[in-house]
């Protein structure tokens, strides 16, 4: 069923892109006419199983970029670098080269844009201080264009000291586990939190389709 379902999205998208290509195979004075290029790129990227992209800069080169987070999609190891492009209160908007955005509220994920099944907004518990049971709210846009809330019951536990390596440097931290479940889904988020509260590395869940994202904070 999984493989068939994978083919569904892919086949439909292919067919649609081909049909759209005919519709947009046009040139003209408007910048919107470059849709053909986007559509063609889309078709090419759907053909075959493309190897996942990797971030292949040396650790020092990444560090030199400044305030950067390394983002890896757990499901297929697709990786990218994201950088801050905006700050509103405690929430920073990070963006990758192709425009995919993550909204992080002091390193905790509260929104995504560009994954398809995006978290439009979220109210996570305070993983730095809360222990035991807590509630987590995710808001998703459904197929009928209505944003609905998914509420999870989570158990947050401190599983002890754990030293991790990010971009060639070691960081002593404590590993916090947030195990969440609801009728719809269950997942586990992990946070490696340093003594000063910085979440150096984390594994945070977005949705059933997207899966979990690994975030590694490179800068201090």
């Amino acid at each position: 069923m999984g493989a068939g379902a994978a083919m569904t999205g892919k086949t439909m998208r292919m067919a649609a892109l081909l049909a759209t290509a005919l519709g947009v195979a046009a040139c003209g004075s408007e910048s919107g006419q470059s849709t053909l290029r986007n559509v063609t790129t889309g078709i090419v990227s759907q053909l075959g199983n493309r190897a996942p992209s990797r971030v292949t800069l040396s650790d020092q080169a990444i560090r030199d970029l400044g305030e950067v987070v390394v983002l890896t999609r757990r499901k297929n190891d697709d990786a990218a670098l994201i950088m801050p492009v905006g700050r509103n209160g405690t929430v920073t908007t990070y963006e990758s080269v192709d425009g995919t955005q993550l909204l992080l509220d002091r390193d905790v994920l509260v929104g995504t844009k560009g994954f398809g099944e995006d978290i439009t907004s979220a109210q996570p518990p305070d993983v730095r201080r809360t222990r035991g049971t807590a509630l987590r709210d995710h808001y998703y846009l459904n197929g009928d264009e209505v944003i609905r809330r998914a509420r999870f019951t989570c158990t947050i536990t401190d599983t002890g000291a754990d030293s991790i390596e990010v971009a060639g440097r070691d960081y002593p931290s404590r590993k916090i586990t947030e195990a969440c479940s609801s009728d719809l889904a269950s997942f586990e988020n992990l946070y490696w939190i340093e003594a000063d509260g910085t979440i150096r590395q984390s594994l945070q869940w977005v949705g059933p389709e997207v899966g979990s994202l690994v975030l590694e904070r490179v800068h201090d």
């Binding site: 790129t41 292949t56 492009v85 560009g114 398809g116 009928d144």
Partner: protein, 750 residues
Amino acid sequence: MFYPRSGRARIETPAGAWFCVPASTAGAPRCRRGSLRGISVIRTLSVSAIALSAVLGGTTASFPQELGRPTLNFYGVSGVIDMPSAAVQPDGQLASTLSYFGGISRGSLSFQIFPRVSGTFRYQGFQDLNYAGYEDYYDRSFDISMLILKESRYLPAVAVGLQDFVGTGVSSGEYIAASKTVTPRLRATVGLGWGRLGSDGDLGSPFGDRDPIEVDQGGTLNAEQYFRGPAAPFAGIEYQATDRMTLLAEYSSDAYELEAGERGSVSDAIIDRASPLNFGVDYRLNKNASLGAYYMYGSEIGLKVNFVANPYEPPMTGSYAPGPLPVQPRPARGSDPAAYATDWTQTPGVAATLTQRLAADFDEQGLDLESLAVDAGTATVRVRNPRFDAEAQAIGRAARAMSRVLPASVETFRITPSVDGMPVSTVTLRRSDLETYETAPDGADKLAAVAGIGEAVPQPAGSVRNAEVVPRFKWNLGPYIRNSYFDPDSPIRADLGARLSASYEAAPGLVFAGSISKRLIGNLDENKRIDTSVLPPVRSNFPLYDREGDPSLDSLTATYYFRPATNFYGRVTGGYLERMFGGVSGEILWKPVDSQLALGAELNYAKQRDYDVQFGFQDYDVVTGHLSAYYDIGGGYHAQVDVGRYLAGDYGATFGFDREFENGWSVGAFATVTDVSAEDFGEGSFDKGIRLRIPTSWFTGEPTRRAASTVIRPVTRDGGARLSVPGRLYGRARTYHESELEGQWGRVLR
């Protein structure tokens, strides 16, 4: 530290735009561009698979599930193999079915109009039937069915249906069916059929005799026939053997008298009905497609393929497009009061500078800034949206750009969407609300609560117009496809060609536009049907236009859109309005921003164009006009009534009913009744059709205002024909009104 937004942050290495380095994991060095898009999606179902009903209604989120649906039969309705059942398809589902056995091909389009009511349009071909003067007989039919009783623990689902209830009646039948899910994998159906469905093994005529249909022109409701005549039982079983495979068996009450040659010399025999039993297997390929193979009536092999789509279940949810510019919050008033000073308004040329900077940001967001008016506390923009099909998304992106450019003292944003220079509403937002809710939980809904949607505000004094948007010349060269259906000589014809279109907007609302097309390949010109209409041939001679109109001047118009008064919209158009007619058209529409009702009046003078679709005209001219009422019933259902005079000089009314979905899908039907009698109208008796609109963004997951629209008319005749004027007001005015903005408000912060 922030990265500049223009051109997006690029991570350049000495080697160029690619990341190249020895990989830390085993393997050769790789050079790849970091990207998270175009990722193959592996859908995993959640731990407990949930019914599709979780998507509709309720406040909890749900994730896309497999498209569940009962089997569709050879007629394209919920059923077993040839017989119907009482199972209903999911609400809003659009299903197409292609089936074939024994020389009988059927193409059907079914739509679940309401949760309990489904409608179907079908085109059938009977090869070598030799009936009614045609060797291959083609027939169009409409079905409707309704669920009377929902299935419960002890009771079955019960449905009533009319098959081919408007038309020449070759497939006419009525039925009552009851279906019960005996076990989770087994559904059993029994029913009673009349007409074609009561022709084999009848138990008598409980409601009296059935008069033979007068085949005539078709198109009339044969109401006195329904449920009359012999009634015969049918039954069927559907067994879901595996996740993808369903086994089917049924006992059919359709004797296929016509097709088995049992009506004497009326028709030839094309099938051999050796047995009333049918068997088959239906295999689900994926969420949207399935195939079936069958053994029909003891003698024929049957095949069926289904393509199904549900507007509520897009192939990919959400959007894959790049994210918006982040909101730029202002410093806290307490910490930096100087930033909120208002003396910037005294700077000479500040309005022009701000307009320029805002235009650049709008451009990057995919919007066009038409004008900006700004004072110490309020900014009013007129914005055009060429990209986002979710209009609320355009509003949100405009607000974001404004937060990045305008000085801190400007607290109120008034965003006026403009459609071709005609302002249609104003959305008022407080900048503080935007800053608060951009990243807050449930931010979009919270912003909806404080956003004001009202009538378009007049342009304030001191407005600076963006000269790059108006005046502007645009052109476009691209392919086009045109098709024509249901001619018995060739049921599907198409042309493929190139079309060059251009437009020049001289001032806001004043547009000159034209379009020329040239066919490259196609067979639309092979239509040799001669017009036999007693009415002036206003539409029925379209084959002549298809044949001689190449290259063709599709349209050449001058249009002026304006706002005569509050809540009123106006349009005047002149020139070559469509392929068959030119002339002058004027229209007025009354539609307040928050109103469910809209009223309009249109008056046209039309002159028929020459068949070569160039600059010449024929002698025929006519004054046409309509009074229209548009009503948004709620729940996505819309009704429209137009009363007036049509192109052939006939008077009458058109009734339209559409179901629109928030994401831009629309499925509807229309019918026109005029003082032209059924005999004068000709085949079909009255003008009717189905219209369908599917937004392209539903397929691709990227915003675009393009959509695939089509109108399917079983017959094109001259009665009830309306002038096809481009730019009618209702569609334009309503796009940024309350109902439409609220419909996709979920994307305002996207």
